[in-house]
């Protein structure tokens, strides 16, 4: 954007309003360009949110109709009944985000600095699974983790299942239907959202800065810690957000890889809306989820912002 602003024209900096450089361009041009898209988002994104909040404060039934009674008690009810699932969703999404960061960092680093002419091929391999059906790939995880499958048998052979049980990651003889399976699926499904922003910020790190650290007698590890990591922080912040937000609301992984004891908040929202048909409860849950995420993300961005300045 700024590249357009400070074009190397004669006559010094261009006044901002002259940005519309064509003589035929009027002040209304940006509004006309923006209008269809903004209208679409206002009608199909903002208006539904208003309806959602209003629905959560109504009482009645689907058959008899709903009336807006500002029944705030629905929220108290929802919070007391489903706080367990809400908390679980945040914990699973948080763990999956940290795991994705831990797993994606070496990958993004290798692609950015060590891949040479294979860089584009590797990037394609990161993106391609993302373009293949999410549900089919999650079903493939069922196959991978299933009872008699190779992973299960392999782990059993090296007492891996005993170890996982000792760590309370699983509690039976099965990998499927455990929190471990759900978190594995969540981490997997949102991994490209972590790798790509990390790669984008790592790729911009000037290798001469790391060399300079070495010249100043920093060990490679110190150079990495003090130069590369801080410079890749914006990518890490973007990646954690892009992973955490969809993971917290996701219910495919907990539905297909989990059990009733791993129910996440998204499953409850969908169930209340589509099976129980209790709209006020479902809407209130949805609003709670949205508010929780907005607050957490706001706190996180503020925190990450100050960290960057330090």
């Amino acid at each position: 954007m700024t590249a357009v602003l400070d074009r190397p024209d004669a006559g010094g900096p261009v006044p901002v309003e002259d940005e519309a450089r064509q003589p035929g361009t009027r002040r209304s041009t940006p509004y006309l360009l923006l209008l269809p898209g903004a209208l679409c988002l206002a009608l199909l994104f903002l208006a539904p949110l208003v309806f959602l909040v209003s629905q959560s404060l109504q009482t009645g039934s689907l058959e008899a109709g709903y009336r807006l009674t500002f029944h705030v008690a629905t929220y108290a009810d929802v919070l007391s009944r489903y706080s367990e699932q809400l908390l679980r969703s945040l914990v699973y999404a948080g763990i999956a985000t940290l795991l994705a960061l831990a797993v994606a960092y070496p990958l993004a680093y290798a692609i950015a600095f060590k891949s040479g002419r294979w860089k584009n091929v590797l990037l394609v391999l990161v993106i391609a699974p993302f373009f293949t059906s999410f549900l089919i790939r999650t079903l493939a995880w069922q196959t991978i983790l299933t009872g008699g499958g190779p992973v299960s048998s392999g782990l059993r052979a090296v007492h891996g299942l005993d170890l996982l049980r000792a760590l309370h990651l699983i509690d039976g003889d099965q990998l499927l239907g455990t929190p471990l399976a759900v978190v594995t699926g969540l981490t997997y499904n949102f991994l490209p959202f972590m790798v790509l922003p990390l790669y984008a910020s790592l790729e911009r790190v000037d290798p001469r800065l790391v060399e300079a650290a070495g010249d100043l007698y920093a060990s490679p590890w110190t150079g990495f810690r003090k130069v590369t990591v801080p410079l890749s922080l914006p990518g890490a912040v973007a990646g954690t957000l892009l992973t955490f937000i969809p993971a917290a609301g996701d219910y495919i992984n907990s539905q297909l890889l989990g059990s009733p004891r791993t129910t996440m908040i998204g499953q409850v929202v969908a169930g209340q809306f589509l099976r129980v048909l209790n709209y006020p409860t479902a809407a209130a849950l949805s609003v709670v989820l949205m508010v929780t995420i907005v607050v957490l993300v706001g706190l996180y961005v503020r925190r990450a912002g100050t960290d960057e300045l330090l």
Partner: protein, 283 residues
């Protein structure tokens, strides 16, 4: 990865050419980890391909039995699968065209103009990407139910255009912002009028961004389950909805055939895009 630079800091204490395996592991640690992550990332795709030539015993295609090309020869055998695929393709194409058109216009407004309300517009575009899908899906359902709007393919399309739009704006805007403004000035200096400049210089330069945005839109729309499921009716079953239903009814092998084809097409599309970008760069 194989081209990892040999370490230049060969210490004087190691005159032997051949170093210990431990040193080799240390040197290639990052590459080894990256390879393991790739295994994690691509394992499910390998399973999808492998199980597309399986002949399962029961209704579920979860354990390997024996090799068979049945599913590949009769891809449309499971009832309802190919019609759901057709619906997904139709909605995907329409949503892509609409979202790309609206999003590209908005991207030009955002990248090329400073106007009152710009930051508000920015927020409006950013918010859908920061909202969990369940919230978007359920709020749209509330809207449609309250307005007595009949659910079906139409409501699915509206939902898809909405959530693809933001991704289009962001992708195209990044491309416009990365343009060298001197190219347009050069065109103007050579007496091109604004229309000619736009059509012959600006648009071709922005086109790869628009193409990428369209590809992303299609992928997002074609793959969406959560939002779609909230806004569909029993007569408008998309392919992801079919797959989700199959997970409890029994998974036909043909699902894996479609999964394999999608993976190959995606690889080809992304690969060709990269290739043509490189050819342009070297030309």
């Amino acid at each position: 990865m194989s081209t990892a630079l040999p370490s230049t800091s060969t210490s004087t204490r190691a005159p032997r050419r051949r170093r210990s395996p431990l040193a080799w592991v240390r040197e290639h640690l990052i590459a080894l980890i990256a390879a393991l992550v790739f295994l994690y990332l691509l394992l499910p795709n390998a399973v999808v391909v492998l199980f597309s030539v399986n002949q399962p015993e029961g209704r579920f295609n979860y354990t390997w039995q024996r090799f068979s090309l049945d599913a590949w020869l009769h891809p449309c055998a499971p009832a309802g699968m190919c019609s759901s695929l057709a619906l997904s393709l139709k909605i995907g194409l329409l949503a892509t065209v609409l979202a790309t058109a609206l999003g590209t216009l908005a991207a030009f407004a955002m990248a090329r103009h400073r106007f009152r309300g710009r930051s508000g517009a920015n927020l409006l575009i950013f918010l859908p990407m920061a909202t969990p899908e369940v919230v978007m899906g359920s709020s749209l359902l509330t809207l449609f139910v309250n307005l007595r709007f009949p659910l079906g393919a139409g409501t699915i399309l509206l939902a898809h255009v909405m959530f693809c739009l933001s991704f289009v704006v962001v992708t195209v805007k990044a491309r416009i912002a990365g343009l060298d403004p001197r190219l347009e000035q050069a065109a103007m200096d050579l007496y091109a009028d604004e229309k000619q400049t736009f059509l012959r210089v600006t648009l071709p330069l922005v086109a790869p961004g628009i193409g990428a945005a369209a590809l992303l839109s299609f992928a997002l729309s074609f793959d969406d389950y959560i939002i779609t499921n909230f806004n569909a009716s029993s007569s408008s079953v998309t392919f992801p909805m079919y797959v989700y239903g199959a997970a409890s009814r029994g998974t036909p092998v043909q699902i894996n055939v479609i999964g394999t084809v999608m993976f190959v097409v995606a690889l080809a599309a992304v690969g060709l895009g990269q290739l043509s970008a490189r050819r342009r760069a070297t030309a």
